[in-house]
Point group: C2
């Protein structure tokens, strides 16, 4: 049940993301950077469940759109310090608000108790390490 639902939810988010001209991974990066800046790109990638090679194009796009900044770390010139621009922060907020509005519309159809249990179970299961799920 979960896999098709995940596909449907991602498909439902697409129009919102396209309206703000960001990809799904792009939005994941923006959301991750909103909470705290990333030490390295590799750490940033891992924290959103991606590969360091996979987010490079994403970062290129975000930078070209002026949503993030990448500057060499003076302390270690190998690493690039990635941070949100003001516009990036605004875009992230706008997309998040739009997506949460859709979620609210969807979840409001559930009985309050089911909704609470659903979200709590989801948070618990998401917090488990992979080997706890696979056994």
């Amino acid at each position: 049940m979960i896999a098709p639902l995940a596909r449907a939810l991602m498909a439902a988010e697409m129009p919102v993301l396209e309206a703000h001209e960001v990809s799904m991974w792009g939005y994941a990066v923006l959301s991750r950077l909103r909470d705290e800046p990333a030490r390295t790109q590799a750490a940033l990638a891992q924290s959103i469940g991606a590969d360091k090679t996979r987010i490079i194009g994403v970062l290129d796009d975000l930078q070209e759109q002026g949503l993030i900044e990448r500057e060499p770390d003076p302390a270690d010139r190998r690493v690039r310090l990635v941070s949100l621009t003001d516009q990036g922060r605004r875009t992230q907020s706008a997309v998040q608000a739009a997506i949460q509005a859709r979620e609210e519309r969807l979840l409001s159809q559930l009985p309050a108790a089911d909704r609470r249990g659903f979200l709590r179970a989801l948070e618990f299961l998401s917090s488990l390490p992979p080997d706890e799920i696979s056994g």
Copy 2:
């Protein structure tokens, strides 16, 4: 939260499926056929969220393994009637039991109320048509 969780759950099912030498789509087909035989392959594909072109290789494998039978419909020789063999039925039951045992182990860590709400919400959301989710 849902998409990574779905990925983790699918990864956790892999060893079980490999132990019975069926693919994920193969298991989806077996489970679908257990409930009722399929009128056409296209309908079978659609009912498990796949494409008619995508399940052909799956059906080939299942047939070669002796888990399903495909025979031309005498009434309309264009269509192939797909049905489970006894062995296919046994394999489906065994895989389902193994997967449900894992699910049980996972869900048993949840408070009973959250667990009920989680499953009820999941069933409701899964029953929604796609356009109800996207808006």
